[in-house]
Symmetry: C2
Subunit: 387 residues, 2 copies
């Protein structure tokens, strides 16, 4: 299972605070992470053209390459709220900066939840009174991960050691997930010393191989944010190792996000090989992982593999040759068309992680995609009430 238990490693120089400020109900809805010293930072934001008001501020504050605090509320996305929403997001940043005596441009704000409702920002601002006294000396990232959840069924966090340093990552997201340059909300914190330029490059590269290969429902959030804070307290680390570890942790979080897709019962991995190039492999992988007919087939284990055939063929702008195309199932690709549909049914119904391998047979391009099944649960979560 992808569900994390406790955070294995702790990272020095970060404090946190989480609370319920009553935006919608009595569950955690506000979280702050504070770096004891200004941290080198980098961030990637949604490509949705209608972005949340906090995203507009985050883009500006990201320009300096320095972050010192992160403030996130759930239950309200502060999107489609115009000038008023922007002012509210700025007021929250200012409050955090004042309380922590830091530069307001080093505060990264995020909001996630319903779109188009005015943010009850007075509740947020008053919950931030005496913030510096309320902070945990040692950040509790498992708790922080809880405070940013919406329809997630479990908090998502990971950690790893890199030499003397530690890298921690948290993420939230369950629906409205086809990240375009980042996942819904994901943050990394490290005490490694590393420049914001390096962080920016590493973050983009890792996101392209992980979060950007994830789709729950083809819907790109207005609030997607992926950011990293590096406070340098543990000194320099091997940068290659740092990148490799970052990509590994991004992969783990991506798997958690897919596995916890709204209503999902299965993690669905698609490996595309033999495409004309990597970019065509991506198009094919995305088409398969997003096909409602393939996703429903994964759900109950209907061995109707012709739907994969359809989903590959409907990518009209890639090179395909029907006579060279093949598909197989399982980590080792042992189940093929030659097997009876009973064998495939048994595999599909007997596993929580389904791996599909398609070989296009026309070149060297490859790509891995992350998705989930489509169930009545997805419809229930999204049809009956405003999430």
């Amino acid at each position: 299972m992808e569900r994390p238990d406790t955070l294995e490693y702790s990272v020095q120089g970060f404090s946190s605070y989480v609370t319920n400020c009553g935006i919608k109900d009595t569950t955690l809805d506000l979280g702050v992470v504070y770096s004891h010293v200004p941290a080198a930072g980098a961030a990637i934001f949604t490509k949705n053209q209608f972005v949340g008001e906090p995203i507009k501020i985050g883009r500006k504050h990201n320009e300096n390459g320095i972050f010192q605090a992160l403030v996130v509320n759930s239950k309200n996305a502060n999107v489609a709220t115009g000038e008023d929403g922007y002012k509210k997001a700025m007021a929250i940043c200012s409050k955090v900066a004042t309380e922590l005596s830091i530069d307001v441009t080093s505060v990264l704000p995020s909001s996630t939840g319903v779109i188009g409702h005015p943010l009850p920002f007075e509740k947020v601002v008053s919950a931030l009174d005496s913030l510096s006294e309320n902070l945990n000396e040692q950040a509790d990232f498992a708790d922080f991960a809880k405070s940013i959840m919406t329809t997630d069924t479990f908090p998502k966090f990971v950690s790893a050691k890199i030499g003397d340093a530690v890298l921690v990552g948290v993420a939230k997201g369950s629906g409205m997930i086809e990240p375009n340059m980042a996942t819904m909300l994901s943050y990394f914190f490290t005490d490694a010393k590393i420049s914001s330029e390096k962080l920016d490059g590493f973050l983009r590269k890792a996101a392209n191989k992980t979060f950007n290969r994830l789709s729950v429902d083809t819907d790109t959030s207005t609030s997607d944010t992926l950011a990293i804070f590096a406070n340098g307290l543990a000194g320099e680390v091997d940068e290659e190792l740092f990148y490799t570890t970052l990509e590994e942790l991004c992969t783990k979080l991506t798997r958690m996000l897919a596995r916890d897709g709204e209503g999902a019962t299965k993690l669905f991995l698609v490996d595309v090989n033999g495409a004309a190039n990597d970019s065509e492999a991506e198009k094919i992988g995305r088409s398969i992982v997003n096909s409602p007919l393939v996703k429903t087939m994964i759900y109950k284990g209907d061995p109707n593999w012709g739907r994969v055939w359809m989903a590959v063929g409907k990518t009209t702008d890639v090179r395909l040759d029907e006579s060279k195309f093949s598909l197989a199932w399982g980590a080792d690709g042992a189940i093929t068309k030659k097997d009876s549909s009973e064998v495939l049914t048994r595999y599909l119904q007997g596993n929580e992680e389904i791996i599909l391998k398609v070989n296009i047979g026309v070149g060297e391009g490859s790509s891995r995609f992350y998705g989930c099944d489509l169930t009545e649960g997805y419809v229930k979560i999204n049809a009956y009430y405003t999430t």
Copy 2:
């Protein structure tokens, strides 16, 4: 409601035959339409790159611009069946040609149903024995429409008079519907006299404004076919009137297909206006009508219009200006953001046909799209057994 009752007008010079030949169960699974004289013809086929074997034959037979018979089986798509599937489809065409004493290149074949299963073509061929004796003198298109159904819940047919001539259209399709140049299967029959070149142009123009603006589930069928037979027995007609009528009937069938989308309870119409151009309006309309979060909101009438905002914004390759964007609901666009969510809920829950109007506010481009809601029914139909 979109469900048709009886066919209003009958068209001269066509005979039909429908039967159950036992491909899967005991419902109708084979239909033939025969034109008493060679008819001018035109057809458009799927853009899916992995096409059904009958499509390969249909494309060849379409080159002459002459059709005299149509043979369609349901319950098996004859897709991903290779050389063997092609030979079987050809054998069926030859059988029809022999039985009716017509040229084999004037036979248009179609198959629809499960992908990747060998077609039990002996059953089809023996059901075609003595075909000419078994034909109804006057084609029964309502029955024919039944014989080509798969997961459709009702047969789809329309008719209209054009001067002294009549135009009849039938269609099938419920899932795997985001037609790219045609719907799943749709056929028109007329006794008007009109050249195949004209028919071809008319068919493409009408399809682009109707079937190509329809999406049930983003999945483009491997078997999409739209064809027209014009046997000329009623003589020439006003061509402008012919085109207008053809487009009207295509619109009616498109509405039926959307309304009968797998599991659908509502018809969802999206009017995009004020886009930079028509092509950008199409991208926006397609994004809205395909968004699972918008589709689930339509289902139970959750007034969460922020999801429309998201679905417009996620089209990254169109010109948008958040401050000029607006949306409204209802045929007259009377329900706007100014109304309470109770008003919107009442509209969404109280109507079987939901109309959304978005105004992009940056130009003159417009487009209408046809879709449906996403329900647990869609998941049920597609997850639990091979359809």
